[in-house]
């Protein structure tokens, strides 16, 4: 359970997931924010007005999937790193998960990284297709990772295999 382990349940994730039709249409945000806390930068960041229900900043953001074009601005701004962009239109067999990342060194495009699920368990190796840097003020990067379609709602973090100098 989320409040005991930090891992959202399948049901919680399902409730914030867009329909298969919307997913097939192109990039869209998935806001994995399940707790009422005083926070609204996602809503302030969205140029499309797709994030709703934030007249009180303690509310949980609700996304209008049809207005969202998956630009990723909210994902880079979210202080909780709780927003992911899913692009299921990437290829017939693969989707792209764009995830917020704040560890140095950043991966590079074309690098293979270890993919992790919400529990931090390894899912295998996946290719980074793009690294969108956050800029000097924001700093949070979005890492674009290509995954098999069935892992688009599983992969939520990456780990870079660092060369350990044993000498």
């Amino acid at each position: 359970m989320l409040v005991k382990t930090g891992i959202p349940t399948e049901e919680q994730v399902r409730q914030v997931s867009p329909s298969q039709e919307r997913l097939a249409a192109g990039p869209v945000a998935v806001i994995e924010c399940f707790q009422e806390i005083p926070c609204n930068p996602c809503w302030e960041a969205c140029a499309k007005g797709a994030i709703l229900g934030m007249d009180d900043m303690n509310n949980i953001p609700k996304l209008n999937f049809d207005k969202c074009n998956g630009c990723g601005t909210c994902a880079m701004k979210c202080p909780g790193l709780a927003i992911f962009i899913i692009d299921s239109s990437y290829s017939p067999t693969e989707a792209v998960v764009r995830l917020p990342y704040e560890f140095y060194p950043l991966p590079e495009a074309d690098e293979e990284v270890i993919g992790l699920n919400r529990a931090g368990e390894k899912l295998g190796k996946f290719k980074v297709i793009k690294v969108q840097k956050g800029g000097i003020h924001n700093k949070t990067a979005l890492i674009w990772v290509a995954v098999p379609n069935q892992l688009a709602f599983e992969l939520r973090n990456i780990q870079i295999e660092r060369v350990v100098n044993v000498g």
Partner: protein, 363 residues
């Protein structure tokens, strides 16, 4: 003797904002800070803040500190005394302090106490071994001086500080073996918990530390599960090999100056200990003495900055400075109300209710 209009004690988020607000309205302000730099805990906060844009949400604490420092240094009404510790407040209104190896005396017309909070400790066997730190010390080492505390850490406390410092440890390349909390639920924001969990760190609720062990320094800790009465369950002991144990088990308001000044004090568990009684505009029962930020009740930096606004405006207003103060105060109080209006603010509202309750014994 030196005189000033407003003395602000403490150069953290609350004190910096209070000084800016009072000085921008025309009051002459002296801001004292015992550290060698301003910013308080902000300078160690490398994560992005919550709240809304008005409270600098989305900006990292360290950047907010720089922004506030810029405003302070651009204001000729403000004199900043770093490495200066306020020692006492006397009956005749004289405040004494030590700075640059000198004993200073200052007579302010108004005083704003923004001294923050100190960390609580936890009793367990061998808790005096080297390698056992408060979370604030770990943050200072890493984020101010660039020194990591060790290789593998046990974090005790899954409140926001425990979660955030765990994340910062990982960003510094230090392994976090586990985060434990005696409570059955994670106390900090769940988005913080989720981002640590998906990096592979287990968060163990209903767990405690029985003892630390090691010859010269920490070599490990024995953990145990707790039952629903918070008692260790026999047979659930786990041995965790770590060289650092980091305690993030809560804060207590630093109120020595309020006690000394003769403020009426009250014990409010929700605020972390004894705090001065205060009115809506953060004036204590000692006229002209205000309190803001964690010193008046442990909360978080966004609220501390808004409280600084309230105290700074109120102090300036009482001296006859500023225009539209009533509107500015109303706006600040509304921001505080917004920050505290959700489930995350329930504890603070409960504390405030107790603090304002009449007819109960206070000291």
């Amino acid at each position: 003797m030196r005189e000033t209009e407003v003395l602000v004690v403490g150069g953290g988020p609350a004190g910096m904002v209070a000084a800016i607000e009072a000085a921008e309205r025309g009051a002459k302000v002296v801001l004292t800070e015992r550290d060698d730099r301003l910013g308080g805990q902000l300078i160690k906060q490398t994560h992005k803040f919550f709240g809304s844009q008005k409270q600098y949400a989305g900006s990292r604490g360290i950047d907010i500190s720089k922004l506030l420092e810029g405003k302070l240094s651009n204001n000729s009404n403000i004199e900043i005394l770093t490495e200066t510790t306020v020692l006492g407040i006397y009956e005749d209104g004289v405040v004494t302090m030590e700075g640059a190896d000198k004993h200073l005396k200052l007579k302010p017309k108004r005083t704003i106490i923004a001294t923050g909070a100190s960390e609580k400790f936890l009793p367990f066997a061998n808790n005096d071994l080297p390698g056992i730190y408060g979370a604030g010390a770990v943050q200072t080492l890493m984020n101010v001086y660039g020194v990591t505390p060790g290789q593998r850490v046990l974090m005790v406390g899954a409140g926001n500080i425990g979660l955030i410092v765990s994340y910062q440890l990982m960003q510094s390349g230090v392994e976090v073996a586990a985060i434990i909390d005696a409570a059955p639920k994670i106390g900090g924001y769940l988005v913080h918990a989720s981002k640590i969990r998906r990096a592979g760190v287990p968060i163990l609720t209903s767990h405690t530390i029985l003892n630390a062990y090691g010859q010269e320094f920490v070599e490990g800790a024995i953990l145990a599960s707790l039952d629903d009465k918070w008692q260790p369950i026999a047979g659930t002991e786990k041995d965790l090999t770590v060289d650092v144990i980091c305690l993030a088990v809560g804060l207590s308001p630093l109120t020595e100056l309020c006690w000394q000044a003769g403020c009426e004090m009250k014990y409010i568990p929700e605020f972390g200990g004894y705090v001065p009684r205060k009115n809506e505009f953060l004036e204590t029962t000692v006229p002209g003495l205000y309190v803001c930020g964690d010193a008046g009740g442990v909360e978080e930096a966004s609220a501390a900055m808004v409280e600084g606004r309230v105290a700074g405006i109120a102090a300036a207003e009482s001296l006859g400075y500023g225009l539209n103060n009533v509107q500015a105060l109303k706006a600040a109080l509304k921001d505080l109300e917004e920050l505290r209006s959700g489930p995350a603010g329930e504890k603070i509202l409960k504390g405030l209710e107790k603090l304002l309750a009449k007819g109960e014994t206070a000291c």
